[in-house]
Amino acid sequence: MPAYVLGRLLALLPVLFGLSLIVFLIMALIPGDPAQAILGSYATPENVARINRDLGLDRSLPVQYLTWLGNVVTGDLGRSYSLNRPVLDEVLERFSATLILAGAALVLASVLGLLAGIVSAVYQYGLADKLVTFAVLIGISLPSFWLGLLLILLFAVRWRLLPVSGMYAIYGGGGLVDLLWHLILPATTLAVVAAGVIARLTRSAMLEVLRQDFVRTARAKGVSERGVVFRHALKAAMVTVIPVIGIQAGFVLGGAVYIETVFQWPGIGRMLVDAIGTRDILLVQGGVLVVAASYVLFNLLADVVQRLLDPRIAA
């Protein structure tokens, strides 16, 4: 196992290289004068000169890339001119807020999706199956930014059950309970599509597995139906479901951009949208780099989990 993880980490190097190249090119490809673009309305002649000197924009592209990469590796992502603070500080702060939101949504989506998929498969063609199939169809077609607005209207404005937006109450907030309270609506909204996809896949994986010979063996042993479904079938189905949860993590992370805007969640998605608006390119670059690199590592984690689950791959 350690050798496998090490091998996978080495195999990540080309992906990370490609990733850094694309992120670097974000800046290099900006039409016009990069310093002007980075500074936007802050582009005084002194600032432009400073940027050009700081970033070595007068040198050739490969040299610029290597310099930039060296800085990135040492944790220097530059300075945000619109916020006047180091990009890394801002990105990490915002990204942790996003991780809370996306993490909660992914857990919620996995639990809901697995349960719905299992119920749907076990009662195939029954009423429960039809209800789940219908709900999944609605779920994967809902624009999350619209659903968020509708939920705010109903739960926060009309029924006043839950907070309208934000991560903590402005007055007297700050505890874990307060955070969870604020998390309910955005995490649910963000989870809907992923839950639908996971439910759909769990259903078909379960149906596939329930037809296998080893499930018949379990029945021939006299294992209870619950044991057959959860111990035998689900275990085998998870091998196909886990990678899909890994892929959904990427969609949830991306979808967080909408949800953070709708619910005023101080995450990295909203930071990126704002940064694009103020043309704060260094901030965009740093944000994209950190999120993409974390996503790559998360996928590695999903692979490792799948491997732990399926001893056959290791053989």
Partner: protein, 582 residues
């Protein structure tokens, strides 16, 4: 042409897809007719008529914050959103498929290089890459379109590459190459038509997302810029007046939802119609026990008073799309305690179906037991409630199947599988159950029980796996073991060992055995009586030696003649009668 007509017929027969098509056709008809419809000017502002609610005079859907007519804006906005979505998916299809075709067809370095690039694109969370592209190009509808195209290219490239790589060495491609056709012509004339279905499937499954994502970028203010408005930017404007005038946001969102849902319905339908193997709802999953549909329950007959298992007139059928095929057509069997009954026949003779039907393990659907009685001691298993059936299975009637690589759970340690069999019938603490597994493994002559318990099925040899299955069958001291071709998947030498083991266990434990095989040699070695099955019926039955030496039925004679090891079987037979219990 005919194929295309079949495709549309299948698509329309799918009610959900037809509903999607209908909704989409309605929306398309309205937006295409927008210029000639009697709509207000979508951009005409009127401060006096701000935020009118729906069903107001002169504004069916009300007005927005600038007093513009929402209905007109909705129609024109949908027109723009659809146009952008369609353009994006066509562009992504052309670019992505080109990458996939080149990578798949050319292979080698081109393939590695192109697919590494695609992998890198896939390494970004979907929407994040779109944001990065918009950051470079600047906000705007066209730039949002490019961003959505780029993030969707990998789906096309990957799918098309898979198929194209498979076609690269097919005969018709080789033939075209030998006849001197250039690569470009081969790609366009020979390969492209064959990857077209994949492209169509990918378009139909991604176009919904693309419309959603462009609307999303506009919602964030990164897509269409005022005064130009698509559904997403209308939704974004509506958000600003959400609390006072919820309809301004609700209506465009509803339309995005309808468009995306109809596209998803059509996408699922297209996928099912093109490739029926990918269908989401194939035959039903098997239930706990085979369904029984006996027209009349036979009156309680006494049968063989001494029989452990008494089967009368068993009929098993399989439902197919076009009707019901009878696989077992009225089989009678009786097994006394401690007796071994062999059932022999070629594949398709119904012998395995009979064996599975005894404990109602034939998958249902499609299997149905359509008649007969299966009496185990006093109980008719075909009328047994689920609880009784569960207690008997693995408790008093145990199974050993043909290929333990597929019949043991691949992801569970074999020790845990045997312990599960014990604990399904007896309350035993983990320690006691482990000790019991050691006993069982010793009984089936598996050495190093601790090591084997920790192993997964794929880590054991075929013979070891089958010994584990037998240990599992013995776990609760059953009265009857039904062994369905238990040695067929094994080497000849291993096969002999397993047969000896079964014969010995049978003698020691007074086990009754129903032994299914296609090999007369094997049956002769361990069974007392044999039933010969052909076409779902028992054509001949009697003591093994009688049947073997004086076959009455022509099918039995052919079956005996077909066994190449018959000479060896006869040798075994000469010594066998001494071993067989009376």
């Amino acid at each position: 042409m005919k194929a295309a007509r079949g495709f549309f017929a299948r698509l329309l027969r799918n009610r959900m897809a037809a509903a999607g098509l209908l909704v989409l056709a309605l929306i398309l008809a309205v937006v295409l007719a927008a210029p000639i419809l009697p709509l207000a000017d979508p951009d005409a502002t009127d401060p006096a008529r701000r935020l009118l609610p729906p069903f107001s005079e002169g504004a069916w859907l009300g007005t927005d914050a600038l007093g513009r007519d929402l209905l007109a804006r909705l129609v024109w906005g949908s027109r723009l959103s659809l146009a952008v979505g369609v353009a994006a998916s066509l562009l992504a299809a052309v670019l992505g498929s080109t990458v996939g075709l080149l990578a798949g067809y050319l292979g080698g370095w081109t393939d590695t290089l192109l697919m590494r690039g695609i992998d890198t694109l896939m390494a970004f969370p979907y929407l994040l890459l779109a944001l990065a592209i918009v950051a470079v190009l600047g906000p705007g509808l066209l730039n949002a379109l490019y961003a959505v195209v780029v993030v969707n290219i990998p789906f096309f490239a990957r799918n098309v590459r898979g198929v194209a790589a498979g076609l690269r060495h097919r005969e018709f491609v080789d033939a075209a190459r030998l006849s001197g056709m250039g690569s470009a012509r081969i790609l366009l004339q020979e390969v492209l038509p064959n990857v077209m279905p994949v492209i169509v499937i990918t378009v139909s499954t991604t176009i919904g997302w693309m419309i959603l994502e462009t609307a999303g970028l506009s919602f964030l203010g990164l897509g269409s810029q005022p005064p130009q408005a698509d559904l997403g930017s209308m939704l974004g404007e509506g958000r600003k007046v959400l609390i006072n005038a919820p309809h301004v946001a609700a209506v465009p969102g509803l339309l995005v939802f309808l468009i995306v849902m109809s596209m998803n319905l059509i996408g699922d339908g297209v996928r099912d119609a093109i490739d029926p193997r990918l269908r989401t709802g194939l035959p039903g999953k098997p239930g706990t026990a085979t369904r029984v549909e006996r027209p009349d329950v036979p009156a309680g007959h006494d049968g063989d008073a001494g029989a452990l298992l008494d089967v009368r007139n068993l009929k098993v059928a399989f439902d197919t799309g076009s009707g019901r095929n009878l696989a077992v057509q009225g089989v009678d069997l009786a097994v006394a305690p401690g007796e071994c009954l062999g059932i022999i026949g070629e594949s398709g003779s119904g012998k395995s179906v009979t064996a599975l039907a005894l404990a109602r393990l034939v998958p249902s659907p499609p299997g149905v037991i359509t008649g007969g009685v299966v009496r185990f001691e006093k109980d008719d298993l075909l009328a047994a409630p689920p609880g009784l059936l569960r207690r008997l299975r693995g408790g008093r009637i145990a199974y050993v199947f043909q290929d333990p690589l597929t019949t043991l759970h691949p992801l569970m340690r074999v020790g845990d599988q045997v312990i599960e069999a014990i604990q399904a019938h007896q309350r035993q603490a983990a320690g006691a159950a482990r000790a019991r597994v050691h006993e069982l493994f010793a009984a089936v002559r598996l050495p190093e029980p601790d090591r084997i318990m920790q192993a997964y099925p794929h880590e054991l040899s075929g013979g070891q796996r089958q010994r584990v299955s037998i240990a599992m069958a013995l776990a609760n001291d059953p009265d009857l073991i039904i062994a369905d071709e238990p040695t067929t998947a094994l080497d000849v030498t291993v096969q002999a060992g397993i047969l000896d083991l079964l014969a010995e266990l049978r003698r020691q434990r007074r086990l009754a055995l129903v032994f299914i095989s296609h090999d007369f040699g094997v049956i002769a070695r361990i069974c007392d009586r044999v039933a010969v099955m052909h076409g779902g019926e028992i054509v001949e039955t009697g003591p093994v030696l009688d049947v073997l030496h004086r076959p009455r039925h022509s099918y039995t004679r052919r079956l005996i003649a077909a066994v190449p090891v018959l000479g060896r079987a006869k040798e075994i037979l000469r010594t066998d009668p001494l071993e067989a219990p009376a």
